[in-house]
Symmetry: D2
Subunit: 476 residues, 4 copies
């Protein structure tokens, strides 16, 4: 990393020198007014000679902006760095007249907001990409208040999609030999099961039966983009405590048969919507198979972040087709504190709760016809199958709050991934282990029959939802 | 590089597995027919799950295509992977109606040829970027015969501009400790002064007073993009033989005062038009100054590739305002073999020849109002000044053929670069050392007076051309 | 480090295979009996063919030995792997007869215990050196009980002296980008000012004004041998709290004028007596000067580990020539708890305490005529000068226990190091800042005059001790 | 390597500074007189403070010495830096009196020439080890003229044995991605089949079915110590031309079943006698098996460097028991030019020549009872078996001169290596493929019977020589 930082120093010097040429310091006016002029210069022919210096000035100044100024900056990008309207009108007319490839090319080019090229040139600054990612992170926070900024965000997203193309990412193992500054970020970015300091981090990385992998971009050497934590085990765990328990005995990696992906975290808010996760899992599966040929099962242990919220709504809805009166009473146990640590009460609620969960995953759909659970959408969309719903699997406060302690195993079976994906993406089917259908069936026998009519693709059973009607319609 | 190749192997495996899912081998039809279907699949939702496999299949197949098939492939990209015409019509109407940012966003998006996203997805294949660069190299050769393909080329160029953004390039020194496979490419790609094998390469890289630097892209680890060769000397050389002579005595780098950029070569035809050269020189200047604080002069020793051709035309043109009858006779010496090695004859032709050259650089302009010499355009556009025209500076066959043996020093003075660039880019002025004006004046005294009226910017003398009128009009 | 571990795997395989040839598992007898036979085989010609396997077997077995067996092993090395007595007798006779170089060569060779070659061959095992270092660590613990083992230890020390020759060591910066497994060892090995976990480690490594450097051996890639922690400041600190305070504000490294070596720790007990420390400090000084040219002062902030113990003895000795009756009373304050946090009491004791300390450093000598304080011996022997004695400088429990809170600055002035070292090593002089002599003088005026007669070497004042007589005799 | 050279620069600076302290430049006297004083200082306590500077001075001065001065230097080491004679006498007496381990320790220490510690301290100089290796290279050349220097050489050899212990060496592949400065040394050091420039080097390194591996020492980063060239084939080649032919078609490495070690070269004359070769081959075998599991045969194609010389002597000896009269006539063909390219003549001589070769390898022994052929001793000592003698295998001038064109395959069968080595090292047996015995038998039937009485170890046939009697006695 020394080489990289030497280069960084050098770029810094070049950029500083350029600044001097331009006497940019002299132009330093408050707010975005001065910045707009510099941005225009950067887009002009000067940008070719002094691009680095100009870009650095803009990014430095942005870094010192307060929230108000940052908002002004984005509005400026929206209003002043859109396309040249006159040129666009002409290009439209020309295209409608000629319909040649050249006319189209000009139309596309004329319709491109000038800020796209501006952002490209801002990337000339030393370490520009890191600042641009933070810039978009900031922009995403503004968008709810200012929906118009969607158009600016679209340009960032478009460029980031090109720059963070999977073809440019590098998979690196994260382990106890990884530099501390990166490990520190793993602690910070872990979004699923919080890491309580370095001792816990060590327990997740150092034992022979633990692995972690992250994607990096060559220009962001010490910033992981996304990472996955893996436990090597002899069977798919049914509770997160089995994986994270401090006093567990590690096994030899070579003896493991199962790789459990128990936590996947995106690190960069500024890259939201730029998808790496599906590539990550598939590549890690290949990597682990190569290293440990005895591994034959690849499975997640995943949260169900939307379940409790959905269930609360159903329980309140007296017309619910999911929760009948008997269940409604049973489920009241969930409102009592400590029910989960009381064997009697938890036994009482188990059947009703898991039946509701089976329904939640198999039947309930969002307006695109996909499951409402975002984690389910992610793994099913990747070609995994819904393998098991685990009761009392995450007894942490957040686990109980989000999903009444349920967790889910999704199974990645390499030979079925493609067919599963096709079933899910094309026909909206959720490929599922038969046992999950039985949960459903036990709870609500009459409906289960309908399900059985579907053909189970790829060794599983397909549950076809009826997209677009919010909570699932069971009689479809 | 081992790590990289391991990763390569792994990506290969993932891609092969994906191929199997899709039974792509089964679909292998001759020609581009089958490829078109795969490209469509790659653009569809399947592309997310099996993108790597699909992309690899397309690129593998393209690699085996003959020229005819490759041409068909490009025509397919042109005709079948343009924008969705109906969507575009709608987007135009919508934009003309609403003129909102969202409407513009949709217009830009609808006008984007679908092949842009296709090319992005092709980059998912292991080592995809290398094949895409070769694909464009091939496309550039086709374009003269099929100008319509310009539109396809524009899409490649657009994406390459993003992907090879200066912010992602890495400067690496090339020396005698560089891996042989990269050095072999330096031999192959050297475009200015041919390298005759490894012994000559060693003479250019190993001595203490020789340097070489190249830009690399992180995903093309063993492919230099552009490189510059540097000689460290005690004064600016007036002839290339002084730099390349086998029996010269090296000096200690720490004693050098002058860094001579005597050869700059672009390596990748497929990246034509994606500009790195200006960044390269400036960064190398900074790098050398940091390492060797005694260096105070940064200068090129450059060819004048267009001079002989231009002069031939002038000599044939009896109405030439540059060559008068006396000169025309003198210059006939140039048609004799071996004139350059004959002191008498070369002395006879020197004044007329260098005066013509001064005119060529200072007065003659292309349709954009810039000098016709491409090397001059490059360095002057970077902010260098035209410092010296050297007679009998390159006596190689190509040096005599291209420029009757003339070579040029361009001076990079850091504190003037910005002003020089501004003068050149903004006002079309060629910033020049006074001596070059005197060459001109000696030849054509009356006109020289006019020149002197201009204000010399940045310590040099400015020669203002009159763009657009081909050969220069001296009375401007 | 991947490459290294791959190599490690490979060596492992080779060694395992060799084991099989020898059916060594079959020979696995309890205790050292079996090991002795294997050691003999390793020394025989078989050692050439199967050395790796044999060496691995011995080291593996040793690793599983209990303390008793390890002791037996060392006794075996002592008794069975000394020189060949008959050959030695003959070599002595031969040498006394001939006195030729060849006879001497044979004598030296015959007198070499066979265990030296045995240890060399044990180093053939994969990662052998690490086990050998642990082996000596263990041996050092046994030596007090079994002084005869000195002879075995001498052989280890002799070989380690060769293998860990400064010429083979590599200096590496330790910072927040260092792999966690190495940082973990820094926490563990810090011997001067304990590091309380990762947060404190970060405060010592990450800020711009903090540095750390360690020596490594190429074959012990993740084991630091010795490290030094450095604070960059604007003046030499008088108390360790100034350096370690959690809430201090970091300064920019480029603004620092002073580098403070505030902690030096040896990491490997098994390398005791193999000296690296002097090389470490000098190389770090050069390294920092190169990076930060504004640094002009290099100084330690060091403990005085022997002071309290020495003072206790003097206070008990009514005949002490150092502590007079008045001081004895004053110094009783030191026996009260919390005196150090009570301004009145600490003011009362200051003069007497620092005068005693000045005496301790300047006058008291051990049997080799050197100061009794080991830290003083180390830095003075390196050519530093005793610069300042700091009162209330380390208020930690151990600081108060060891040295009543005193700490010392030793100054490394590059141009004086050689002369200082010469004065110390050759003439037993302690080069000292004049202020320290004044401390002494204030306390005991009559004696101070004597001191002033000495010539202050290298800009300091020389205090000449009288080795061998315990507390210093001032009139020598 | 940059990091290393930065460190080198820094060490240089430290050493230069030390020099200044000592005003060593002032002491620069001609010849070794001045050097002796510096060497004494280096051994004294000053050596601890200024060791680097002093060591650098000595090595720099030695580098500038002429041959006469270098010889004086070695004589100085011999005469002035032996042991302290008085101390040694006392140590002998003490030992003879006490016979304790401590007395022995002192004896060994007293008998150690002081130059051993001196050489250790010379290694403190930046890049000291490289100069010391050259120093011994030089010493080895002097030894024939001055046998007394053997004693000095023994000290160098002793230290190098420790420093270049196998445990410290690193195996690195040499391929077409290796830095050019190292490849240049491969060209230079290749000692078996000369490499004619870079194009031939590329043919030996770049194809998929070619490999090369070298041992490096961590402190000699760009100096290979020994390397082996490997061809991956489908069968053991019988002629070197099959391996080196320019126009051969490469096969895919994955298809190879046989790895042929066709050239092993030691690189450093100064490390003569420090053995790495056996470790190299075994490690490369393991490495290749790991990478290419289909490889099942590991075999050399080796020269027979002593054969022609031995045969010439036998042919001249009318009493030879090896060459009878008929053979003697047949073998006269060998004296004719171009016999090897004449099918008729080469057919005529084949049987007699190969029978003599079989005798040469199986029967002829040196004074230690080992084969006279050094290459045979090396491979048989490593546990290989003599597999095949190839007629007309090396038609180069040197191949014909050394061995009448014969080459030999030695087979490394991992499971037999240990037993083969034991048979060779312990009982002097040459483990041989039966076919080679048949060559012998055809030539000399009566003797062959005797051979058959021996038990063939490890699947081969054992030929037991009768050490010490020059040419083999067959009836032993």
């Amino acid at each position: 990393m020394n080489g990289v930082s030497l280069l960084g120093d050098m770029l810094q010097t070049i950029a500083e020198r350029g600044r001097r040429f331009l006497s940019l310091s002299g132009r330093e006016e408050a707010g975005t007014g001065g910045v707009e002029a510099i941005c225009e210069t950067l887009l002009s022919s000067h940008g070719e000679a002094s691009g680095m210096a100009l870009a650095k000035t803009v990014l430095d100044r942005w870094s010192r902006f307060d929230e108000k100024q940052r908002c002004d900056f984005m509005v400026m990008l929206l209003e002043r760095f859109g396309p040249d309207a006159a040129r666009l009108e002409k290009a439209i007319d020309n295209y409608r007249g000629l319909r040649t490839p050249q006319a189209l090319l000009e139309l596309h080019s004329a319709a491109e907001p000038r800020r796209q090229e501006l952002i490209r040139r801002l990337n000339l600054a030393p370490n520009g990409i890191a600042t641009l990612v933070r810039m978009r992170e900031n922009l995403l926070m503004m968008k709810s208040a200012q929906p118009d900024l969607d158009a600016v965000d679209a340009d960032f997203a478009h460029l980031f999609g090109s720059w963070f193309n999977r073809g440019f990412l590098v998979l690196r193992p994260i382990n106890w030999s990884t530099p501390a500054d990166i490990l520190e970020k793993i602690i910070r970015y872990e979004a699923v099961h919080q890491i309580d300091g370095w001792d816990e981090l060590r327990r997740r990385l150092a034992p022979d039966d633990r692995r972690c992998f992250a994607f990096f971009h060559p220009q962001l050497v010490d910033e992981p983009l996304i990472f996955v934590e893996v436990a090597l085990t002899r069977s798919a765990p049914a509770a997160i405590a089995d994986v994270l328990r401090e006093d567990r005995a590690a096994i030899a990696a070579a003896e493991a048969t199962t790789a459990v992906f128990y936590s996947i975290s995106n690190c960069q808010q500024g890259l939201r919507g730029i998808s790496f996760g599906n590539f990550l899992i598939k590549q890690v599966v290949e990597d682990l198979r190569r290293e440990l040929p005895k591994l034959d099962t690849f499975v997640t242990l995943s949260p169900a972040p939307g379940f409790a919220q959905w269930l609360a709504k159903e329980r309140k809805d007296n017309a619910s087709q999911v929760i009948d009166a008997a269940d409604r009473v049973l489920l009241e146990v969930l409102d009592e504190p400590d029910w989960a640590s009381d064997p009697a009460r938890s036994a009482a609620v188990q059947t009703a709760l898991t039946a509701a969960a089976a329904h939640y995953f198999l039947r309930v759909r969002n307006s695109q016809g996909k499951p409402v659970d975002p984690v389910a959408r992610f793994h099913l969309g990747n070609g995994a199958r819904l393998e098991r719903i685990n009761f009392l699997a995450d007894l942490s406060a957040s686990g109980l709050r989000q999903a009444h302690g349920l967790m889910v195993n999704y199974l990645y079976k390499l030979d079925d991934i493609e067919a599963n994906h096709e079933a899910f993406a094309g026909r909206g089917e959720v490929v599922t282990a038969p046992a999950i259908h039985r949960m459903l069936r036990q709870a609500r026998p009459p409906r289960a029959l309908a399900v059985l009519r579907g053909q189970p693709p790829a060794g599983g059973t397909a549950a076809r939802g009826t997209g677009g009607r919010g909570t699932g319609e069971l009689t479809s």
